[in-house]
């Protein structure tokens, strides 16, 4: 069964077309990365899946429902590049936020928050304020919050984009562990080719103006991924394949002006 089915989706903001002709199916327990240069509409596509943006055309089905119904049923958790934690809430209270809105009873909430903080290894930080934590820790709180109500789908918009390389690689490992433990499907937006290849079961390569899917690269690296995965020859092959797909998307776009310049010369 597919968790996400997108057909013929487009989105225009005024006169600019953000994405166009998007066809994509995401199966259960897949880890799908959307990658592409700035302005290719990958964040827009993620928000369309999550019904944070309404598409101008086409159809989005999430868990066999409309995206809107899926949102109302709280079928997905979302993690932004900015952790979006509330300073007036403690770490534990931030994780409990979606549970409060879904009206979980207090005791059940408490137990679940403990479990989630254990999952992201932040036990002992329940009563800290978000600003007392490092960037990486804040993002882990944000992940714990997104997964706290067991959503079928996890949407992540460049969650590690603002972090340094070392923290980022560590959190990549943690995310894979959490993904394996939670059994959810992940849609992950990133700028980084190696991150996309390392994490994903499929990499969706997008090209800009208008944003389109130019290629879907299946990642056949064996599970579970480990620190040595990044050193395997197959890893490099796949990185190269994604990079070439990215450049192809770019070159198509630039082909016309290059020829004009030559003609003028």
């Amino acid at each position: 069964m597919n968790v996400v089915e997108i057909s013929g989706v487009s989105k225009r903001f005024g006169s600019t077309t953000a994405v166009e002709g998007i066809e994509l199916e995401i199966g259960e327990r897949e880890f799908v990365s959307l990658i592409g240069p700035s302005g290719c509409g990958k964040s827009t596509l993620l928000r369309i899946i999550g019904d944070l943006i309404e598409p101008s055309g086409g159809k989005v089905v999430v868990n066999r429902k409309t995206a809107r119904q899926a949102r109302k049923d709280r079928d997905y958790g979302i993690v932004f590049q900015d952790p979006v934690l509330y300073d007036w809430r403690t770490v534990a209270k931030n994780v409990a936020l979606p549970l409060e809105i879904a009206r979980w009873p207090r005791q059940k909430r408490k137990v679940r928050v403990q479990k989630m903080l254990e999952l992201v290894e932040l036990t002992g930080f329940e009563n800290h304020r978000p600003w007392q934590l490092s960037g990486g820790m804040q993002q882990r709180v944000s992940i714990a919050r997104a997964l706290s109500f067991d959503p079928a789908l996890l949407l992540m918009d460049e969650p590690f984009g603002a972090l340094d390389e070392m923290t980022r690689e560590r959190l990549n490992m943690e995310l894979l562990r959490i993904w394996a433990a939670s059994g959810s499907t992940v849609v992950f937006v990133t700028h980084s080719i190696s991150e996309a290849v390392f994490l994903s079961t499929q990499v969706v390569v997008m090209s800009p103006r208008p944003g389109r899917i130019s290629e879907v690269v299946p990642i056949d690296l064996k599970q579970p991924r480990t620190a040595t995965t990044r050193e395997e020859p197959r890893f490099f092959e796949l990185v190269t394949q994604v990079r070439e797909a990215l450049h192809l998307g770019h070159d198509l776009e630039r082909a016309a002006p290059v020829i004009t310049q030559q003609a003028e010369a």
């Binding site: 928000r47 709280r74 979302i78 932004f80 300073d87 409060e100 800290h128 490092s134």
Partner: protein, 276 residues
């Protein structure tokens, strides 16, 4: 995962009321020195330049006038303070409730806000003689409470509205992703986000409340009201005694300000840097 052992960036601030007020005695020292300096300079200049008592009395003369009449002055101050407090509560309360309504229904806000801004340009104090006539010929507290309330209303309204509307887009996206309704958004995002703004407005309002009450009394009020007392004394050239009345007005105004600032510290303990 031992390498990922998390480390807190800063320790959790904890402490009693003393810590909450945020200062040890030594932190107040510079301010105390300035106060002593200014009062000393005032006293010294008057003696040195031989300024007439009715133009500007010496601080020591004001202090002794205050001491002689302290019973009556503090009693009058308390009476006026009650008006100021009533006006502060009424004006600020109305402003906060209205700000929530205007933030919730933006169309309504867009329709009404220009008139509130225009209304703010009216010198409210100019209405004091008129409002006095609206309420019992100005002899009760009501008319002063209304003047103080109107003065408090606007800064609290504007600040609260700004706080309620200045949430980040991601904050709203997050709430939307949890299918949180308007009530949840207000309760869990907009209102907590507005708290620092609300307190800024309230602190401005404390001072305005006392001004409103005293000036209102200049146009007539109860015999034991501070404004009436200041006016009566300056009319019979008891300027030092009038100054003592002004001093009492400052005292009560400052008291209200400090009370609000203290509540702010307690309410905003979660802020990254209220004490830094």
């Amino acid at each position: 995962m031992s390498s990922t052992a998390p480390v807190a960036v800063q320790p959790v601030p904890r402490g009693g009321l003393g810590k909450l007020v945020g200062h040890r005695l030594i932190d107040w020292l510079p301010a105390v020195i300035v106060l002593v300096g200014i009062v000393g300079l005032w006293q010294g200049l008057i003696v040195w330049l031989d300024v007439q008592q009715f133009l500007l009395p010496k601080p020591t003369a004001i202090a002794s006038a205050f001491w002689t009449d302290k019973q009556e002055l503090l009693h009058a101050g308390w009476y006026t303070f009650q008006e100021a407090l009533g006006g502060f509560a009424l004006g600020s309360g109305t402003a906060i409730v209205l700000a929530v309504v205007l933030a919730r229904w933006r169309r309504l806000g867009a329709a009404l806000m220009p008139y509130f801004i225009a209304a703010n340009a009216i010198p409210i104090i100019a209405f004091a003689p008129i409002t006095n006539q609206w309420f019992d010929g100005g002899l009760t507290k009501s008319s002063k409470i209304v003047i103080a309330a109107i003065l408090c209303f606007f800064p609290v309204l504007v600040n609260t509205l700004r706080g309620l509307t200045s949430v980040r887009p991601q904050d709203l996206e997050l709430m939307r992703s949890y299918a949180g309704g308007q009530t949840a958004i207000f309760r869990r995002v907009r209102i907590p986000n507005a708290l620092p703004f609300i307190f800024t407005g309230l602190k401005v309002a404390t001072v305005l409340a006392m001004i409103g009450a005293v000036v209102g009394e200049y146009f007539g009020g109860a015999l034991n009201a501070l404004g009436v007392l200041i006016l009566a004394r300056s009319r019979i050239f008891l300027f030092t005694q009038a100054w003592a009345g002004v001093f009492v007005a400052c005292l009560f105004g400052l008291g209200l300000y400090i009370a609000v600032a203290l509540v702010e510290r307690i309410a905003l303990r979660w802020m990254p840097s209220t004490s830094e």
